[in-house]
Symmetry: C2
Subunit: 236 residues, 2 copies
C-alpha cells in the first residue's frame, strides 16, 4: 500500500470504494477454515485503528480469539441465547430457528472489539455532552475493519445474540471495558449479492428516499430526495 | 459506478480502499461554501444506507440541513455548550479554547443522522441481548457516509459538543428517535495529513500493537502483535 495520501481519488478509485461498501456482507454461512496471513490481518486491524475517535481517544482494544476451547465456550453460550431470544410466532419462529446467525467455530478467528470507557486519552473532549461517543468511535473502528476485510476477500460476521457480561467474564475483560462487537472473521466460499437476511426473506431494503428529510423532521419530500439519485449512477 | 459486485478486489482497488480509510479526516477548519451536487450527495447517502444493521433494521434517517437560520440556532447552541464544557486547567484550557471544533456555518450542509428506536423493521432480531445495536448500526452508516464523502473529496466533521435533546427540539425530532450524529458536510480547501487534534498537540496516535490481545484480556504480547505489521505494507 502506498505511503502517500492522495488529495483526490480517481473515478476508478471511487468505483472500488463504493464497490467495497456495497458488497460488504454480514457473513454467517460461508466461512472457510483457511488461516488469515499475518500481513492481511495487520492491514485489517490497521484500518480499524484509523477510525475517527472522539477527542482522538482511540478507546478500542482488539482481542483476537483463535483458541478452539475458548470459541467452543462462546458458541455454547450463543446457542443458549439463541433459544432464549425466540419470541416469534408461527412462520417467523420457524424462519428464526432456521437462520444461521454466527460463524464462531467455522471461521478461524474471532475478534472481540472493546471500548475502554475509562481511557484518559483524548482528555474527555466531546464526551461530556454525549457519553456514548466513545462507544460510537469503537463502532467506527468495527466498520473500517469490516470494509478492509471485504477488500481482502475476508468475511466478517457480527454476533449480536450473546450476553455481553457473560462474554466479558469468559474473556477476562475488566468491568470498565465494554464489549462493543464480537466478530467472526475468515475467508469465505462466496460473498452473497444481497444481505443474507434479505435472501432468507427476513427483511427487505427500504427505498432510501423515504429516509431523507429536509431542515426539519416533519419535512419529508420524496420527490426532492429522489433527485439525488437520478444521476448518482449507483445501482438502486 | 458499476452495477457489478466483484468477488475480489485488485491490488490497485485495495490501495484506494486503504487510502480512503487512512486519509479520512474529521474536518473543522477547512470547509468551503461550494455546493455539493445532487449526484455526489446521492452517492454519499447511498453508501450510508448500505451500512450493516442489526436484523437488517435500517434504523436511520438523514436530516439534511441547508437552512442558514436553522444552522445559526444550532451554532449558537454549540457555542454555549463549548464554553460550558471547559473543564480544563492552565495550558490545556488555552489549547481547548483555541480548538476549532465544528464547521456548522462554514460548510453548506449539515446532516443529522438519527436512529428510530421503535422502528419495527428487522423484527427485533439481535436487539434483545444488546439494545444498543440499533445505535451501533446507525454509527456504521455514519462511517460509510464519511468514507464515501472522502472518496468524493467532500469533508465531514462530527460535532460532539451539543446537547442532543436541544438539537432534537430544534429540529422537531420525536422522542423515540435518537440523534446519533450531527455532521458538517462540504468541500474543503485541503485534507490534513494527520488528524487536526494531533496537529494541534491535543493527543497522539497509540501504537496499534499495544491494543492487541490474544484469547484472553490479560494476554498482551506486543512482539507477537508486531509481527502482523512487518509485511503489512501500510505506513506505520
Amino acid at each position: 500500500m502506498s505511503d502517500q495520501i492522495p488529495v483526490t481519488f480517481s473515478e476508478q478509485d471511487c468505483r472500488a470504494i463504493y464497490s467495497v461498501i456495497r458488497s460488504r456482507r454480514d457473513v454467517r454461512s460461508e466461512f472457510t477454515s483457511d488461516a488469515i496471513p499475518d500481513d492481511v490481518l495487520g492491514r485489517i486491524l490497521d484500518a480499524a485503528h484509523h477510525a475517527p475517535s472522539v477527542g482522538f481517544m482511540q478507546p478500542w482494544d482488539f482481542l483476537l480469539i483463535e483458541s478452539v476451547s475458548v470459541r467452543r465456550r462462546i458458541y455454547a453460550h450463543f446457542q443458549e441465547m439463541k433459544q432464549r431470544a425466540d419470541m416469534y410466532e408461527a412462520g417467523r419462529a420457524n424462519l428464526y430457528k432456521a437462520l444461521k446467525l454466527e460463524g464462531i467455530l467455522d471461521a478461524p478467528l474471532n475478534v472481540c472489539v472493546t471500548c475502554d470507557r475509562e481511557r484518559t486519552k483524548g482528555h474527555g473532549l466531546g464526551r461530556q455532552s454525549d457519553p456514548m461517543t466513545d462507544l460510537y468511535s469503537t463502532v467506527c473502528a468495527v466498520q473500517n475493519l469490516w470494509l478492509a476485510a471485504r477488500a481482502e476477500s475476508v468475511g466478517v460476521g457480527w454476533v449480536s445474540i450473546i450476553d455481553l457480561d457473560t462474554v466479558k467474564q469468559m474473556l477476562g475483560i475488566p468491568d470498565h471495558v465494554h464489549v462493543v462487537a464480537y466478530l467472526c472473521v475468515g475467508y469465505v466460499s462466496r460473498f452473497r449479492n444481497r444481505p443474507e437476511l434479505e435472501d432468507a426473506g427476513w427483511e427487505h431494503r427500504t427505498p432510501l428516499q423515504k429516509l431523507i428529510r429536509f431542515d426539519h423532521w416533519d419535512n419529508r419530500d420524496e420527490d426532492r430526495a429522489a433527485r439525488f439519485f437520478v444521476d448518482a449512477d449507483v445501482p438502486r
